[in-house]
């Protein structure tokens, strides 16, 4: 006879606090994405905000087309366009206060630009000369994150730390629909909820994770519903409606700032371009689908709303486009300048202090760079070049073995000999992939 056979014999008392008392009702997202533009609410939206969002949208669209063009000229190694998603990017940047932090993915360069990061610095990772071009601490913008969803726990930790220190700081973390399938998404939401961290998660559901559509990514009613299981409210918003995204994010940021804890916002949008310039989107989606979404373009939506309210006419549209064009021209010109490469920087910032091993390797590279600048040193490498394994190499070599010094003379764009006595401690490169750059040379 087991306890299961005897009715009532097995009656475990639940532990006193066996679950948090959370009513799921208020956490559930609306059935339809929240909208302002094209609804009566559009009339009540603040005029100044509308104009600001519009200006950023127009500039953002131009930024996307310009960056994509730069990939064709070999000036960017790759560019994941956010064309079609500008409303999310712009709203994410504009809702943040100065002290707040933004945690972007690789697709979110536009959010950085809207937050005030120099566009060239925002594109440095994608150009390929440095990992992060901007000062993360000064801008309160984490590095663009390439692995999916791994930056979400960072946002939670930072927000938690700020609250522990008594600072009013909110972290806003961006993630795509594909990223919601990753384990770190789950762990970040769970930690944020348990710690009541002042963090906002914005899921930009643009329909595809490279080629995989949402239906193959999740069986959830919506991505916003995923929040509910963690005890977090989920909000669903039209991701092409900049005013709606701004409003929902503003509420979430305010709630976080006031100690109300995290919010998950799913913005339903669409990536009009391919995943990156290297992707062929015709393999996984049809023109009709793209055309349907063009009818719901975030820039056009805003233009219609502004026009309907009498805040914008054709001259106004022209003026905004001109400004965006000047911005693009400036960006183009600066991106066409060869970046300075400092090979010895490879050994910078690996550790606070270089290890002996790194000092030895830096000395080796320094010697190679020096040899390259000597006219006849090109091909032959004598015994000294292999000194790393020479009998006296190793521990005897002190920290001062030419490591801290810059190479005296840099090589020209081609790297080896013959750039004609250019006295520079750095190298330059024409485009990340070595092509193009004709304008400057």
């Amino acid at each position: 006879m087991t306890v299961m056979d005897e009715r009532g014999a097995y009656r475990p008392a639940p532990p006193p606090a066996w679950r948090p008392a959370t009513d799921p009702g208020p956490l559930l997202p609306d059935d339809e994405p929240y909208r302002v533009l094209g609804t009566p609410a559009q009339e009540e939206a603040e005029e100044k905000l509308l104009l600001r969002l519009y200006a950023e949208l127009v500039r953002g669209r131009r930024f996307n087309t310009q960056a994509t063009a730069l990939t064709r000229q070999g000036r960017l190694a790759v560019y994941p366009s956010s064309t079609g998603q500008e409303a999310c990017e712009v709203a994410a940047a504009l809702v943040l206060r100065e002290q707040d932090w933004l945690f972007p993915t690789y697709r979110d360069t536009l959010a950085l630009v809207a937050r005030g990061v120099d566009p060239v610095e925002a594109l440095t990772l994608l150009r390929g000369d440095r990992h992060t071009g901007y000062d993360s601490r000064a801008h309160r913008v984490a590095p663009l994150c390439t692995p999916l969803a791994t930056h979400l726990p960072h946002a939670v930790g930072l927000a938690h730390a700020a609250r522990l220190k008594g600072d009013d700081v909110v972290a806003l973390a961006l993630v795509g629909d594909g990223g919601t399938s990753e384990g770190d998404f789950h762990e970040a939401l769970n930690f944020a909820a348990v710690w009541r961290a002042p963090v906002v998660f914005l899921v930009q559901n643009n329909g595809f994770a490279i080629s995989v559509p949402l239906a193959k990514q999740t069986a959830a009613p919506s991505l916003a519903h995923k929040a509910v299981g963690y005890g977090i409210p989920g909000r669903l918003v039209d991701g092409n409606d900049a005013v709606a995204v701004h409003e929902v994010l503003s509420q979430a940021v305010r709630r976080a700032s006031e100690g109300g804890g995290p919010t998950v916002v799913e913005a339903v949008t669409y990536r009009l371009d391919a995943h990156t310039n290297a992707d062929d989107a015709t393999r996984y989606r049809k023109d009709e689908e793209i055309e349907a979404w063009r009818g719901h373009d975030p820039v056009a939506l805003m233009e219609r709303a502004l026009t309907a309210r009498g805040l914008l006419d054709e001259a106004g549209v022209e003026a905004e486009r001109d400004r965006a064009e000047r911005f693009a021209a400036g960006l183009r010109e600066r991106m066409n300048t060869d970046p300075e490469l400092r090979p010895l920087d490879l050994f910078g910032h690996v550790y606070a202090d270089r290890t002996t091993q790194l000092m030895e390797q830096a000395a080796m590279l320094g010697a190679e760079l020096e040899a390259e600048t000597e006219p006849s040193a090109g091909s032959e490498t004598g015994p000294s070049a292999g000194s790393e394994t020479g009998p006296s190499a190793g521990s005897e070599r002190g920290p001062s073995a030419g490591v801290q010094t810059e190479p005296a003379v840099g090589a020209g764009p081609t790297g080896r000999g013959g750039s004609g006595g250019q006295d520079s401690s750095v190298r330059t490169v024409s485009g990340a992939s070595g092509r193009g750059g004709g304008e400057t040379r």
Binding site: T132, A138, P153, A161, K165, D184, A352, T355
Partner: protein, 342 residues
């Protein structure tokens, strides 16, 4: 630069303390000195850790400073990254070696690289405590020696104490470091005791320096962590056979102290590397290569390795067959009679 320490008896008048107590004390003192130091992990608070290493910290400093987290290693380490970005100094516990694997993406893609990726703007002063190695009768996934994974990742310091004073001194140094430190705690030495005074802790050499635990003339045993006591015992036993063995405790696997190791091997002309971790592509391979490159003309015999077998960690009733013990070390030492055998 070589430091020869006296035996544990040097802390005269001090009561015996365990390594676990010294580690706990290191965290306690660091937390008392610096409000930025936060201890976090699963069970570290109310329970005081499954090994009681964090015992008393939550009671003294509160839940916000010593935090029981949800059970999620990637989340723990990922949140610690964000906390360090905001200026805190998290000390993260991974509870058991193999439990750290879910956190490897955070460790490798972010912890190890954040300083480099951001050009120094966001250094991550965080300590990752990983109880590691076997010999405590744990079932599978509780006894891995995972040091090679950490060693192979640029941007991480990898440290492992073998003595009670080192447990305290190295952990204090790790917490004070502005770089991420993987702090490997040899589980089977948690209850090893030495006279040690928490009021007046013994100064230890800094991270990055190896230490000669026992001077000798005829061969060098290069080892670290749980294998240090094994090598010291082997060195005592070898005296009967006429061997005067030097024992070098690496203490820090990254950065690696070529200077102390090579100075010893040049003196003795013979060396054996001893560790629990597997031999194939294990830490010993790197150490042997470094020693050979630097000391070739001083060597009287090939540098040998004594390691765990290249198998998944065995079930507890068989771990004695796997772990390198005194006899296996002595067998290797005997094989150092290279010229006589050839």
């Amino acid at each position: 630069m070589t430091t020869v320490t006296a035996g544990p008896a040097s802390a005269a008048g001090a009561k015996p303390a365990t390594m676990a107590q010294a580690l706990g004390r290191a965290m306690r003192d660091a937390m008392a000195e610096d409000p930025a130091v936060h201890v976090m992990g699963e069970d570290v608070g109310t329970l005081g850790g499954v090994f009681r290493v964090t015992d008393g910290l939550a009671a003294e400093f509160g839940d916000d400073r010593c935090t029981d987290t949800p059970l999620a290693e990637a989340g723990i380490l990922g949140a610690a990254v964000g906390m360090a970005m905001y200026g805190l100094r998290p000390v993260v516990e991974m509870q058991f070696d193999a439990f750290a694997y879910p956190a490897f993406e955070q460790l490798i893609s972010h912890v190890a690289k954040m300083r480099n990726r951001t050009g120094g703007a966001l250094p991550l002063p965080l300590t990752i405590r990983v109880p590691y190695g076997g010999g405590i009768g744990g079932v599978e996934h509780h006894s891995d020696s995972s040091e090679i994974y950490y060693m192979a990742t640029p941007g991480l310091h990898v440290v492992t104490p073998a003595t009670v004073p080192d447990a305290y001194g190295l952990l204090r140094a790790a917490i004070a470091s502005d770089d991420p430190v993987v702090f490997l705690e040899p589980k089977r030495l948690y209850w090893s005791k030495a006279p040690w005074s928490p009021q007046d802790p013994e100064a230890v050499p800094p991270v990055g320096r190896a230490v000669v635990r026992r001077p000798g003339r005829s061969a060098t045993l290069i080892t670290y962590g749980p294998s240090v006591p094994v090598c010291l015992e082997a060195a005592e036993a070898a005296r009967a056979e006429g061997w005067d063995l030097e024992v070098v405790d690496l203490r820090s696997l990254v950065p690696f102290d070529d200077e102390t190791v090579c100075a010893s091997v040049r003196r003795t002309g013979r060396a054996v590397v001893v560790h629990e971790s597997g031999g194939f592509a294990g830490p010993g391979g790197e150490i042997v290569a470094r020693v050979t490159e630097r000391c070739f003309h001083h060597l009287e015999a090939p540098v040998l390795r004594v390691s765990g077998f290249d198998i998944p960690y065995p079930p507890p009733m068989l771990e004695r067959s796997h772990l390198p013990g005194v006899d296996r070390v002595l067998d290797a030492v005997a094989r150092l009679q290279w010229e006589a055998a050839n």
